[in-house]
C-alpha cells in the first residue's frame, strides 16, 4: 500500500467528511429542536451559497462569508416561523411533505433567478499545498477541516456555556416545562432552524469550490449527510460529526482501493450504508433505542 496516496486520500476524505458533518449536524439540530427531518436542508444550503456567490461579485471573500451566514440565519429562522410552525402538530407525513415542498420551491427559485449554469466558486484557502513528511495536502482541504472543527467547537460551547444555549436545549427537551420557566419556546425553535441554516451555508460554501456551483450541487451531499446523521444516531450531534468524517473517509478509501467502486457508484454505496444501518442498528452508533409506547 502506498503510504503517500493513503494519507492524501484520508485527508481529502476528511475534507469531504467535514462538509457532510456540517450538513448532518444541521439535520440533527433541526431534528432535536422540532423533530423534523429537513429534506430541504441541502437546497437551503445551495441557495445561501448562490447568495454568497452574488455577494462575492461585490466584495471580498470574508465580508461576503459573514454576510451570507447572517442571511442564512434569518432565512432559516423565517422558514421555521412561516411554514414549519403551522404544521407543528400535524402528522409526520405532512411535515415531511412540507419540507419536500420547500425543496422544490427553493431549487426552482435558484434555477429561475441564477439560471442552471455551472459557476466557479472561490475558496479562501489558496496557496501552495502544505507538505508534511513529503506528502502534499491541498490547502483548501486543510482549511475545510479546520473551519468545520472550529464551527463545531463554537456551537458546542454555545450550547454548553451560554444562557441562550441552555434555553434552547430546554425548549427542545421539555417544551412545556421550559415555557413555564419563561423560555420563549417558539423563538428557540426558530433559532435552532437559523443555526442549522448557518451550518448548511458553511457546508455549501465549502462544497462549491470542490465541485462546481450549480442548483443540484447539494443533493448528493444531502444523501451523505443523511447517511452520516443516521450512522451517528439522528438525535446525536457528536454522532453526526463523527458519522460525517467516517462516511467521508470511508467512501474515499473505498473509491481508491476497491476497483468495483467507481465515482458513479459512491452514491449507491452511501445508500447501501444508509439502508444497512437503518436495518441493523436503526438508532445509530451513538443513539439510544427509543421505546415505543403502545
Amino acid at each position: 500500500m502506498d503510504g503517500q496516496l493513503f494519507a492524501q486520500q484520508v485527508v481529502s476524505g476528511l475534507a469531504n467528511g467535514a462538509v457532510y458533518a456540517s450538513l448532518a449536524l444541521a439535520l440533527v439540530l433541526i431534528y432535536r429542536t422540532t423533530h423534523v427531518v429537513n429534506f430541504a436542508q441541502g437546497e437551503m444550503a445551495m441557495f445561501t451559497t448562490f447568495v454568497a456567490w452574488s455577494l462575492n461579485n461585490r466584495m471580498s471573500y470574508w465580508p461576503a462569508f459573514v454576510l451570507t451566514l447572517a442571511f442564512a440565519f434569518v432565512f432559516g429562522a423565517a422558514i421555521e416561523r412561516v411554514v414549519i410552525r403551522p404544521v407543528e402538530q400535524a402528522s409526520h407525513l405532512t411535515v415531511i411533505m412540507v419540507t419536500i415542498a420547500l425543496f422544490v420551491t427553493v431549487n426552482g427559485f435558484v434555477l429561475w433567478v441564477w439560471t442552471p449554469d455551472l459557476r466557479d466558486f472561490p475558496t479562501p484557502f489558496t496557496g501552495e499545498p502544505v507538505v508534511v513528511a513529503g506528502v502534499f495536502f491541498a490547502r483548501h482541504e486543510i482549511g475545510i477541516i479546520a473551519l468545520t472543527v472550529a464551527t463545531v467547537v463554537v456551537l458546542w460551547a454555545f450550547f454548553r456555556f451560554t444562557k441562550l444555549g441552555l434555553a434552547m436545549r430546554a425548549a427542545a427537551i421539555r417544551p412545556e416545562a421550559a415555557r413555564l420557566l419563561g423560555v420563549r419556546v417558539g423563538w428557540m425553535l426558530a433559532l435552532g432552524w437559523g443555526f442549522a441554516a448557518v451550518l448548511g451555508a458553511i457546508a455549501g460554501m465549502m462544497t462549491a469550490p470542490l465541485r462546481l456551483l450549480d442548483p443540484n450541487m447539494m443533493q448528493p451531499v444531502l444523501i451523505y449527510a443523511f447517511a452520516a446523521a443516521v450512522l451517528g444516531g439522528i438525535a446525536s450531534p457528536a454522532g453526526a460529526v463523527i458519522g460525517g468524517f467516517t462516511i467521508g473517509v470511508g467512501i474515499n478509501l473505498l473509491a481508491t482501493y476497491v476497483d468495483f467502486v467507481t465515482p458513479e457508484l459512491e452514491l449507491p454505496v452511501a445508500f447501501a450504508v444508509l439502508i444497512g444501518i437503518l436495518l441493523f442498528r436503526p438508532a445509530g452508533i451513538f443513539g439510544r433505542v427509543a421505546a415505543r409506547r403502545v
Binding site: 427531518v37 426552482g108 449507491p268
Partner: protein, 348 residues
C-alpha cells in the same frame, strides 16, 4: 346495489366516453400531453394506494418508474448482448412486474422503518438509482450515461393518447377494486394504527410488502409507457425531481381519493408545460414581468401550490370537490349517516 354505486358507475362510464371522444376535438399536440397525463395518472394511482391507503410514504417512486422504463428499453432495443427486440407494448406488463418485484423486495427493509426513516430510505433510493444507471459497471445493461435508444419513432399524439388511456382505465378499475376490497381495508387499518391492525390479525409484513409491490407495479407500467414517447432513455429520464413531483401530484389530487389522481396528473402535466404562462398572464394584470420561460418557474409553482394545499386543505382538490359535490348529491341520493342511537334512560 346502492344508489351511490350506480352514480359512481354512471360517472365512470361518462368519463370513459368523454376520454374516448376527446381526441376528435383537440390538436395532436394536446393529445400527446393528455397521453402523458394518463402515464402520470397510472403512477399516481399506485403511489396513492401506498401513501394514501397504506400510509407508507415514498419519495422514491421515480426510481420504480425508472426500473420499468429500463426494463422496456432493454427488452425492446437491439442494444448490447441482450437483443430480444420485443414489441414495446408487450413489454409494458413485464416492466410493471419487474418493478413490482423490486418494490415488493424493497418492502422488506421498509417494514422496519417507519415515518421519517422510510422517507429517508426511499429518498436515497431515488438519488442513488440514476447514479447506478450511469455506472460503467452496468453499462452493458443500462447503456451507462449514453442511455438506450428505443426502436419506435416518436409516436403521434393520438396514438400515445389511446395507448396510455387503454392502460390507465383498466388500472383505475383494478385500483378501485383493490381499495374497496379486503386488501384496501387492511391497508387502511395499517395506516390508522399498526397495533390495532396486528391485534385484528392483519400481518404487517405481508400487507406492507404487498402495498409496496402493487404500487411499484403501477409505477413500473407508468415508467415503461413514459419511455415510449421519449424514444431514448438516460439515467436522468427518471430524476429525483420526478419522485418528488409524483408526491406533489398525490397530495394536490387528494390523498386517498383515486379519482382525484386524475386531477393530480393534470396538475403535474400542465404546471410543467403551461403553468409559467398562466402565472405570467395573472401577473400581467399587475404589471409584473417574470421571465416565464426560465427553467425554475414550474418547480416554484409545484412547491408553492403543494405548500398551499398542505397548509390549507390537506385532503387536496378531491377533498374540496367532494365537499362541494356532496351538497348536490345529497339531494339525489341520501347517504344515511349512522348516528349513535341516543341511549335510552333506563328506568330504575
Amino acid at each position: 346495489m346502492s344508489v351511490g354505486f350506480a352514480v359512481r358507475a354512471g360517472a365512470f362510464v361518462l368519463a370513459v366516453g368523454a376520454i374516448a371522444l376527446l381526441p376528435r376535438f383537440i390538436s395532436d399536440f394536446r393529445a400527446l400531453q393528455l397521453g402523458t397525463v394518463a402515464i402520470f395518472f397510472i403512477a399516481l394511482l399506485g403511489l396513492n394506494i401506498l401513501t394514501g391507503h397504506a400510509g407508507q410514504i415514498s419519495l422514491g417512486h421515480g426510481a420504480f418508474m425508472g426500473i420499468g422504463g429500463y426494463t422496456t428499453a432493454v427488452l425492446t432495443s437491439d442494444f448490447g448482448g441482450l437483443s430480444w427486440e420485443m414489441n414495446d407494448l408487450a413489454t409494458v406488463p413485464i416492466a410493471g412486474l419487474v418493478a413490482g418485484v423490486v418494490g415488493f423486495l424493497f418492502g422488506f427493509p421498509a417494514l422496519r422503518l417507519a415515518g421519517v426513516y422510510l422517507a429517508l430510505a426511499t429518498f436515497a433510493l431515488a438519488v442513488a438509482l440514476p447514479s447506478l444507471a450511469r455506472s460503467q459497471k452496468l453499462a452493458g445493461i443500462t447503456g451507462g450515461s449514453e442511455g438506450i435508444i428505443l426502436p419506435r419513432l416518436p409516436p403521434t399524439g393520438d396514438w400515445l393518447y389511446y395507448v396510455c388511456w387503454s392502460f390507465a382505465l383498466p388500472m383505475f378499475v383494478l385500483a378501485w377494486l383493490i381499495v374497496r376490497g379486503r386488501l384496501g381495508r387492511a391497508f387502511r387499518a395499517v395506516r390508522e394504527s399498526e397495533i390495532a391492525a396486528v391485534s385484528s390479525g392483519i400481518s404487517l409484513p405481508l400487507y406492507k410488502t404487498v402495498a409496496f409491490g402493487i404500487s411499484a407495479f403501477y409505477a413500473g407500467v407508468a415508467g415503461a409507457l413514459l419511455a415510449i414517447p421519449t424514444t431514448a432513455i438516460f439515467p436522468d429520464t427518471y430524476p429525483v425531481a420526478l419522485s418528488i413531483i409524483l408526491l406533489t401530484g398525490v397530495v394536490v389530487g387528494g390523498l386517498g381519493s383515486l379519482a382525484g389522481m386524475a386531477i393530480g396528473a393534470l396538475f403535474i402535466q400542465f404546471i410543467q408545460t403551461d403553468g409559467p404562462q398562466w402565472l405570467q398572464a395573472v401577473l400581467d394584470r399587475v404589471g409584473v414581468d417574470i421571465n416565464e420561460t426560465a427553467p425554475g418557474v414550474p418547480s416554484v409553482l409545484y412547491g408553492l401550490l403543494l405548500l398551499a394545499v398542505l397548509l390549507t386543505a390537506r385532503s387536496g382538490v378531491a377533498g374540496l370537490l367532494a365537499r362541494g359535490v356532496s351538497v348536490l348529491t345529497n339531494r339525489i341520493y341520501h347517504r344515511p349517516i349512522k348516528r349513535q342511537a341516543t341511549p335510552s334512560r333506563r328506568e330504575a
